[in-house]
Each structure stands twice: as C-alpha cells, then as structure tokens.
C-alpha cells in the first residue's frame, strides 16, 4: 500500500525544520531537496516492516549523502520506526539521532554513513550480498551530486555493472549546489547520464521534487542492469529563502526563519 502524498511531504519538511531548529545545527538544503524521494521510499516503495526492521530479506536503503540525516529520521518517525518526540533530540548528547546516520542506534537505519562515496560502495555490496543469499531484495542508495566527485563512487559503479546488479537503484539528488558553490564551479560533473550509461547503468532522468515522477521511477520493476535515477531537485525546496541558495547547505533556521518557513510549507 502506497502512503505517499504531497501532504506527507509537507509533514516531512516541517519535521526537518523542527529538528534543525531544535538542534541548532544540521543541513537544511540537502535534507529538503530529497523529501519527495524519502517520502516515496518510506511511504511504500521499500518492502520494510517497522515492527521487524532487521528482517534479512527486506529491501534496503542507504543514505550515502549522510548529512541529509534529518530527512531520513523524519521519514522513519513518520512510519513509526521510533517515536516522533525523539526527533527533537537530533544531534544532542545521548541521542540516537547522530548528526549522520548510525545503524546501530536508530531502528530502520540500514547503514551507518557520513563519509561521502562510501554508501554507494556499501550498497553495491548489499546488492551483491542479498542476491548471493537468494533474497528478492532491492537496494536503493541516495547520493548527492557533489558526492559523485569522489572516485570511490565510480569504482562502485564499475563493480555494480560488472556484477550485473539489477537489484540496485542509485538515486542522485541533483540539486546542483555543494558547499563551496555550484557543481560547475567547484568541479564540473559533466554529462552524468552519459557517464552512468557508459559505466553500464540504465539511466532515467526525472524531476526529483515531482512526487508522481519519483514514485514512477522508483517503483519501476528491475531491468537487467543496475539503474541510475538522476533526480533533478531544488536545494532547500519548499522554503523560499533556502531554495537554490548555496548557503542553505549547512543552514539552520533561527526563530523568525522557522516561523516563516513553517507558514510557507503550510
């Protein structure tokens, strides 16, 4: 049953801002850009069970861009992997909700991440491993665009194609901005579609903030190659003063901004 809607996306956005506002630290821009992707995955595309989050033959999700942890935590809390009140403990002493996801602390977090590039490799290993175990699992991994500047991502892409991991879907949250500026200015990514195709992926390009397109791309049956979904998104999506702003990467709303942002989301 799919439980995905623009309403639940609004809830995730408001939860993300509430968490960041409460913690006083975190990453707003890249958390808000991937909300539709997280809502689609946790709203029904992933075959997972909040009552049994470690079921071995489940689907797996790796948040390779670990700094978007607030989006993952909000999605998990929304699907009752843990109580929503915990969201307010983000980044605080003793909290399960570390600045970057820790699989040993949070029910539903499939992999500990934070060091860019490593999640893609780990997801490749998960896809290889679940297939070797005979599970019907699908493995989804979400990467940032700047993250693809890490050479490790391309080692992983080569391996995924080599092992014909058709159970692997790599989603690129392509908001075009990274800490020091636009991708093109920092280190041009070039033609990502052509690159992933050349590496042996099936590639589709979507508007990553359009829920229907996201659901369609992520729920499409596996083909015979690993899949790359290039999801064009808006950094800071949903909050006027964050949208397409380089500075929104590590932004945290103050009281006034928080009020304004919550109103805008509605």
């Amino acid at each position: 049953m799919l439980d995905i809607s623009t309403e639940s996306c609004k809830t995730l956005r408001k939860d993300i801002l509430t968490m960041l506002h409460a913690s006083g630290s975190g990453h707003a821009g890249g958390s808000l850009s991937c909300v539709e992707i997280m809502d689609a995955l946790y709203g029904g595309i992933l075959r997972i069970d909040p009552q049994n989050p470690k079921k071995p033959d489940r689907d797996y999700f790796v948040l390779s861009k670990g700094h978007a942890a607030p989006a993952l935590y909000a999605a998990l809390a929304e699907r009752e992997f843990f109580p929503k009140e915990e969201l307010l403990t983000l980044r605080k002493a003793g909290s399960h909700l570390q600045g970057h996801p820790d699989k040993n602390k949070v029910p539903g977090v499939d992999m500990t991440t934070g060091s860019l590039g490593q999640g893609i490799s780990i997801a490749t290993g998960l896809a290889l491993g679940t297939r070797a175990k005979g599970y019907d699992s699908r493995v989804y991994v979400l990467t940032g665009d700047g993250e693809l500047q890490e050479g490790l991502c391309w080692e992983a892409a080569m391996a995924a194609a080599n092992y014909k991991l058709s159970n692997l879907t790599l989603i690129v949250d392509w908001n075009g901005l990274q800490i020091d500026g636009p991708n093109e200015e920092v280190m041009n990514l070039g033609d990502l579609g052509a690159k992933f195709r050349a590496f042996g992926f099936e590639v589709c390009e979507i508007d990553g903030n359009d829920l229907d397109q996201v659901v369609k791309a992520l729920s499409a049956p596996a083909g015979d190659k690993p899949r790359c979904v290039l999801a064009h998104t808006v950094k800071g999506k949903g909050v006027s003063f964050y949208e397409n702003q380089v500075g929104s990467h590590g932004a945290v709303p103050n009281d006034e901004q928080f009020e304004k942002a919550m109103k805008e989301i509605g």
Partner: protein
C-alpha cells in the same frame, strides 16, 4: 604442515579449508589473488569469491555490505594498500559501525624484498591500532595462521590479520588465545617481545645471548590489540629491561604500545627495536633484515648494548 612456509601461503590454504566448514565465508581480493593466496579459495568456491579489481576502497566497502546480510567477508590485498589507501574506509565503514569484516593483508613489513619501499608496509600496525573496535593478529607460522583465522571468524567485528610474503619456520605449537601473549621461552635476565616473522628471529637471538651468559625470555605477541597488559606488567616488574622487536616502524608499533603501558604502570626500561622511522628498499629479505638491524645477530647486539 611443512617446516617452512610463508604465512600468506598458510592463510590461503587455511581460508580454503574454512570455506568448506562455514558457507558464510566470502573472500574479496583486488587483483592479487595469486599473491595473497586467496586463489585457493577462489578455485574451490568461485561463487563466494569476488574480485574487486584494482579498487581497494570499493572492495572494502562492498565487504561491509556483504557482512550486513550475514556473510563473513575476508578482504585481502597487500598491507600497504589495504590499510593505507583504504584507511578511511576501514575507519568509517568497518570500525565505526563495527562491521563483521576481516582484513587479511599480506606482504607486510620489509621482508617483501625486491619490490622495494613502495610495497613494504611499515606502518599498518600503527594505522590499525588507533581504531576503536579493531582486533589485530599477526601470526608467526603456519599453525598459528590457521588458529588466528579461526579466532577471527569467532569474533563478531573487525579483525586485521597481518601476514608475510617471506617464509617462517614452524615453531613449537602453542594455544592461541586472542589477547594473550605466548611465552615461547623462559628467561631470568630479560624479555623479548616479538610478533610475526620476528618471533623465530627473537628465539635465535635468545640462543645467541645465552652463549654470552644472558638468559632472555621470548614472548610471542600474536595479538597486538587488545594488548596483553597482564604479561607486560608482569615482565616490567620482573626485569630491568624489556625489548620489543618488530618488522614495523618503531613509531606506532608494538614497541610504543608496550612502552605506553609501562610508562603508566611503572617498572622497567623498554627498548624498541624495529624499523627506525625510515622506508624500506629493494633487496633480498635476509639482506634487508641485516640492513635494518633486524636479523638475529643484530638484535642480539642491540640488546647487549643496553644490558
């Protein structure tokens, strides 16, 4: 069992044996299966062998994914690449989440020989020692290699196993208890702590010293982490000097670990014998041991200078 065998050879053979006993064991290599000797496993269990190509970082992170679904991955390449290029993968993807990944790296130390300094890892123990959740084994001979492997499989979490290209002789067989050094020889005057290829040399050193009236004990520190603090403290109380000998830099190796314990608990003087903060080079292994003061006679000479 043969009298003389490299621990990399023993590793490859033991791994193939263990593969038959435990179907969760999988092996990853980075285009060096014929040098790390994982080829024996590859030939026997091709479905559980994954060649990652020349991409050590991806190999290690893929192993984390395999471990997550219940496999016990052994990751192999040369120690210099496996711990160096790979360090941050081992830190963040293996040790931080306590992934059940075994890192079995060969060609450690200067005894790699002709390949030279670029391939001779003299810092791997230092790199692995600083990581929380890590266990470090360095077996001294064939029998101990198999025991170390079996112990690694029993441990739920990261293990680094340091292996050599050079042959070592079969030593008197002893139990392998992780974290517990083995006394290979009693002695009343001093104690030598060694691991890996240096254990047989330390035993030869002790023989040479005996001829000159010095009675040295020899301990095999097959486990470098967790460190056998009990044995260190006991020896620090019993002797005026302890000597550590290792085919590794004196910076960050067993010597510094032992000295650190003794500095805190009090006791004797610790003299570190190892590679003195310089890189290796090309030569035959035995020549290199002499050039770096790590053959039995050179070690004996350095000990006599102190006593």
């Amino acid at each position: 069992m043969s009298d003389v065998k490299a621990t990399r050879q023993a590793y490859g053979e033991a791994l193939a044996k263990l593969g038959g006993e435990n179907e969760n064991i999988v092996v990853l290599d980075a285009d060096l299966a014929h040098a790390t000797m994982t080829k024996f496993f590859m030939e026997k269990y091709p479905d559980r062998f994954f060649n990652a190509g020349i991409a050590e970082a991806n190999m290690t992170d893929m192993a984390v994914g395999l471990a997550e679904v219940g496999f016990i991955p052994f990751v192999s390449t040369f120690a210099v690449f496996g711990t160096g290029r790979n360090f941050e993968q081992i830190r963040n993807s293996v040790c931080y989440p306590k992934a059940n990944v075994k890192l079995a790296m060969t060609h450690a130390g200067i005894s790699v020989g002709p390949d030279g300094g670029s391939h001779e890892s003299i810092e791997d123990v230092a790199l692995m020692r600083v990581l929380p959740n890590m266990t470090i084994f360095c077996p001294a001979d064939e029998a101990e290699t198999e025991k170390a492997l079996r112990a690694a499989v029993e441990i739920e979490g990261p293990v680094y196993i340091r292996l050599s290209r050079m042959t070592t002789r079969a030593l008197p067989e002893q139990d392998f208890v992780p974290g517990k050094a083995n006394c290979m020889r009693e002695g009343k005057d001093t104690a030598i702590f060694a691991y890996g290829t240096m254990v047989e040399r330390a035993l030869d050193t002790a023989e040479m010293l005996k001829a000159e009236g010095i009675d040295a004990a020899v301990y095999n520190f097959h486990t470098i982490k967790p460190l056998d603090v009990e044995t260190i403290s006991k020896c620090a109380e019993q002797y005026d000097q302890i000597f550590t000998v290792e085919e590794h830099s004196v910076v960050g190796g067993l010597g510094e670990a032992v000295a650190g314990v003794v500095a805190e608990t009090g006791g004797c003087r610790v003299k570190k014998i190892g590679v003195n903060d310089k890189f290796g080079q090309s030569a035959k292994p035995e020549e290199l041991f002499e050039m770096y003061g790590l053959d039995a006679a050179s070690v004996a000479r350095q000990i006599k200078e102190v006593i």
